[in-house]
């Protein structure tokens, strides 16, 4: 088994474990490169089926290419697709910096969706290499009743024995991609022939490295127009992946505050 085979096997193991142990689980699909790989892995784990709902918590501010992608593949891949809306920015914590407030809409939308569908757990495609706080995440990550993450007291997790016993009312985030890196995602997408959104590829010297909302996501300088060139670029770049995501950089702990409140 090579490195990509190992990553894939670990993700499939996590999917199957969560699906077996937890009732009423769903997957978050943000339409970005990571969640597309996550969806692909789920289809592998369950032999072409996705036996749980796939949910897009929509800010209404995604790129048009992302919406087109969503509408096409939700149908083609026969997904149990759910779309839920986010509340307006006025509903968010006004003490947060502006871009973080914009991101906090998603947290509120997510909480409402969980409440509405009574999901006990959600698959989320975060990776440890994206951000230093995510690096401290567990694969099976319990959340409090209001969705908050207690990062000071997380359950031990070893030997692939995940914490799957919880008092009623606990909500879980399950992270099948936690052990992947950005380059892994690209190499795997290429190997498997996973469809990709064109925004990731360079156009007029710019490309998006990470896709969020249109108004708070910015492209980076790049001439990489194929997956190969993207991988080459990532091997040499020293620009961090989320450099184009404004909300991470407003204050030293703005991302920590978002995450503690339930942001992914």
């Amino acid at each position: 088994m090579n490195h990509l085979d190992e990553l894939e096997a670990q993700s499939i193991y996590i999917f199957r474990e969560a699906f077996n142990r937890i009732d009423n689980i769903a997957m978050l699909w943000s339409l970005g490169k990571d969640s597309n790989v996550m969806l692909w892995l789920a289809r592998k784990a369950f032999f072409g089926h996705v036996p749980f709902p796939v949910m897009h918590v929509d800010t209404g501010k995604k790129f048009k290419e992302m919406y087109a992608f969503r509408d096409r593949y939700a149908k083609e891949w026969n997904l149990k697709f759910i779309r839920e809306e986010c509340p307006p920015v006025e509903a968010t914590d006004e003490t947060l910096p502006p871009a973080a407030r914009s991101a906090a809409r998603k947290t509120l939308g997510l909480k409402a969706a969980i409440e509405k569908h009574k999901f006990n757990a959600l698959f989320a495609g975060i990776r440890r290499d994206e951000e230093a706080l995510r690096a401290k995440e567990r694969v099976f990550s319990p959340r409090g009743e209001t969705g908050q993450w207690d990062f000071r007291d997380q359950p031990p997790e070893f030997w692939d024995q995940y914490k799957t016993d919880f008092p009623p009312g606990t909500h879980l985030r399950v992270h099948p991609l936690l052990h992947w890196t950005e380059i892994d995602i690209w190499r795997y997408s290429a190997r498997e022939g996973i469809p990709l959104i064109s925004l990731y590829f360079a156009n007029n010297g710019k490309r998006y490295r990470s896709l969020g909302d249109e108004d708070i996501t910015f492209p980076v300088d790049s001439t990489a127009s194929t997956v190969d060139e993207i991988v080459e670029e990532l091997l040499t770049t020293k620009v961090s992946e989320r450099a184009g995501r404004a909300m991470d950089h407003e204050a030293e702990d703005s991302f920590e505050r978002l995450r503690a409140e339930g942001y992914m």
Binding site: M1, N2, H3, L4, D5, E6, E8, A9, I12, Y13, R16, E17, N20, R43, K44, A45, F46, F47, G48, E65, A68, F69, R128, D129, A132, L133, A135, K136, F151, R152, Q154, P155, P156, E157, F158, W159, Q161, K163, D165, T181, I183, R187, Y188, A190, R191, G193, P195, L196, I197, S198, T226, V227, D228, V231, E232, K238, S240, E252, D253, E256
Partner: protein, 636 residues
């Protein structure tokens, strides 16, 4: 709108060639783990743009000198307190390969986080502060790494700048720690003197320590081996789930060791059913059916279908019929405890082993180990952050392996309430593989009705048939009391007979030795014979040490309601003093191995119908009690 499916490319092919090794950095708090990581990144040119500046700013804001540790310490609380709370991961590369660095907290309170980090690693760097020397956590972490299965360890003796780069300081610490590791069976791959703050011997050789001629930390990392795959070991395929898709019944799971081929006969444990592999299922379905895989191996998450619609469920372990896993309901374990409440003797926990679950009782806490000085004590509790050697008993048969034979199927966790509270590795030392004892080989057999009904026998004899099962240590008085009781009962008109250990081994069980398996088989046969005698109307008395609870339970099952367990009780000291056959003396000198009470376990009964304490009673008193019991119980 999208670039569409793309074929495998040159970049993807290169990815396969590049290796990844996962390294955990452990050690006592403040010994400089996070600083070492920061330095490793800086000196190998792995820092992202702006990161150095960002850390500098954070330090300025706090009015402190530059602190490398901030690279890993992502939480506000960690930066404010200058400690690592939870394990973090970060990626870097050397010329040779890619690394995931896992930084594990050194604080005792965060041991669960250290274990979470260490258990994901292929190798470890253990950091020791040259100014403080070997500390409590240095020892504890070394021990736990070994227990968790991390076999490649480099020790970095840090802060050498603070001790004037003196060789004698380093040599003393190296010797002390090597001694400790040797005592737990670990040989560190390298011991490297470093200064993380100054960058000595991290990626480049130190000018200040020319007396050192070993590798740098990067050199040590690059010398580590990738984890070996266990495809050449016996097949272990724990069933994770069973899916019913498109009329296929797919058994899904990960192969933990060995290989599996289409057409192989698989045995499922503990149910002991067998069937053949019909297909290996994959998605996407290959367009050419010849391209379907025919063989899969360790590490792969797979799905198979069988040629026979067996009932198989999650938790069963598939293997080949040769080299199957051990079947047992009792085993020994070395475990580390993380629970808020201590592990207690007699308490029931949920055990997770592979994909299986079982309720287990803590039958014995043999030792509690102080990992800092390896001294052991006997208590009835294992407190948080301690290591204990215990015996666990399950209510149902388990399929497992000894940890030394298969690391992945020989380990488990315990759940207390909702929490994972401990993890352990399995040893079967002194306990029998019960597979042979529960496997019935003959098929197509039916029971025949007897010509004489039981109540007619009872009426003619004037008493019921039954089994008085004497158990107890060698020297407790079993044989003495059994033969005296036999005489006394006979004199009172009872049909009675004694089955005695040594006598049976002259005949019926002449082909059995004293291994745990053979002892269990010895007792299984005696149990069956005693049950037959009892159905023949005899009051059968057996005198066997019969140290294992499982074996006595099996004998009870054979004889049914007429089984009476009699615990002939005497403490080890008393028995050893009596030593009627001189066996204890031989066991003490090691001449006899596996001797109950000395080098093999004795599991005292907790549900005996009668206890005869021979350290307090004379033979006559004991006999009187036994006679009273028989008259009351068996006279019809």
């Amino acid at each position: 709108m999208n670039a569409g499916p793309i074929s495998a490319t040159a970049a993807a092919t290169r990815a396969a060639a590049r290796q990844l090794l996962r390294i955990v950095i452990v050690g006592h708090v403040d010994h400089g783990k996070s600083t070492l990581v920061g330095r490793l990144f800086h000196d190998t040119g792995s820092l992202p743009d702006g990161k150095f500046e960002a850390i500098r700013k954070m330090c300025e804001r706090r009015g402190m000198p530059f602190e490398w540790a901030f690279l890993m310490d992502a939480m506000q609380a960690e930066r404010d307190q200058g400690i690592t709370i939870d394990t973090a991961q970060i990626w870097f590369k050397t010329e040779k390969r890619d690394y995931t660095i896992i930084d594990a907290p050194g604080h005792k309170e965060f041991l669960k986080n250290m274990i979470t980090g260490a258990a994901q690693s292929d190798a470890a760097v253990l950091v020791i502060d040259a100014t403080e020397g070997v500390q409590e956590q240095s020892r504890r972490h070394g021990y736990l790494l070994h227990l968790l299965g991390v076999r490649q360890i480099a020790v970095a003796v840090n802060k050498m700048d603070a001790v004037g780069y003196r060789e004698d300081v380093f040599t003393k610490i190296e010797a002390e720690y090597r001694d400790y590791l040797a005592s737990i069976g670990v040989t560190p791959t390298f011991v490297v003197p470093v200064s993380a703050r100054e960058g000595d011997n991290i990626a480049t050789r130190s000018q200040a320590m020319e007396w050192y001629d070993g590798p740098t930390v990067v050199g040590a990392l690059d010398s580590f081996q990738l984890p070996a795959t266990s495809v050449d070991r016996p097949l272990r395929f724990p069933i994770q789930d069973v899916y019913k898709f498109d009329d296929r019944r797919i058994l899904a799971g990960r192969i933990e060791s060995g290989r599996l081929h289409v057409g192989d006969e698989l045995m499922f444990s503990p149910s002991n059913n067998t069937a053949r592999v019909k297909s290996i299922e994959v998605w996407p379905e290959p367009s050419d059916s010849d391209a379907r895989p025919n063989t899969v191996g360790a590490g792969q998450c797979i799905g198979i279908t069988l040629d026979d619609q067996l009932f198989v469920e999650r938790g069963e372990m598939a293997s080949h019929t040769t080299n199957p896993p051990v079947e047992t309901e009792v085993f020994r374990a070395k475990l580390f405890w993380l629970g808020r409440k201590p592990l207690e003797k007699g308490k029931i926990y949920k055990m997770k082993i592979g994909t299986g679950e079982a309720q287990v009782t803590v039958q014995e806490i043999e030792h509690v180990l102080d990992t800092t000085d390896l001294s052991s004590s006997t208590t009835s509790k294992v407190e948080r952050n301690q290591v204990g050697e215990v015996v666990l008993r399950s209510r149902r048969m388990l399929a497992l392996d000894e940890h030394t034979r298969n690391g992945r199927t020989g380990r488990f966790v315990l759940i207390d309430g909702y929490d994972i509270a401990g993890g352990g590795i399995i040893s079967m030392e002194g306990y029998a593989d019960q597979r042979q004892l529960v496997t019935q080989r003959a098929k197509n057999i039916t029971r025949v009705q007897h010509g004489v009904p039981t109540d007619e026998r009872e009426r003619q004899n004037g008493h019921k048939g039954g089994v008085l099962w004497f158990t107890g240590l060698s020297g407790a008085g079993k044989s003495t009391l059994a033969t005296k009781l036999e005489r006394a009962l006979f004199d009172r008109g009872y049909q009675t007979y004694v089955l005695d250990g040594d006598n049976i081994r002259f005949g019926l069980n002449a082909n059995l030795g004293f291994s745990p398996e053979e002892r269990a088989e010895n007792i299984r046969r005696v149990g069956e014979v005693a049950a037959l005698f009892s159905r023949a109307g005899l009051l059968t008395i057996t005198a066997f040490i019969s140290p294992y609870q499982s074996d006595r339970e099996r004998a009870r099952k054979a004889a049914g309601e007429h089984f009476h367990e009699v615990y002939i009780k005497a403490d080890l000291g008393t028995c050893e003093e009596r030593d009627p056959k001189g066996l204890y003396a031989k066991a003490r000198t090691g001449e006899i191995k596996d001797f109950t009470g000395i080098s093999a376990p004795y599991e005292a009964p907790d549900t005996a119908e009668l206890i005869i304490d021979t350290s307090n009673l004379s033979i006559d008193q004991a006999l009187e009690e036994l006679l009273g019991y028989v008259e009351k119980t068996f006279r019809s």
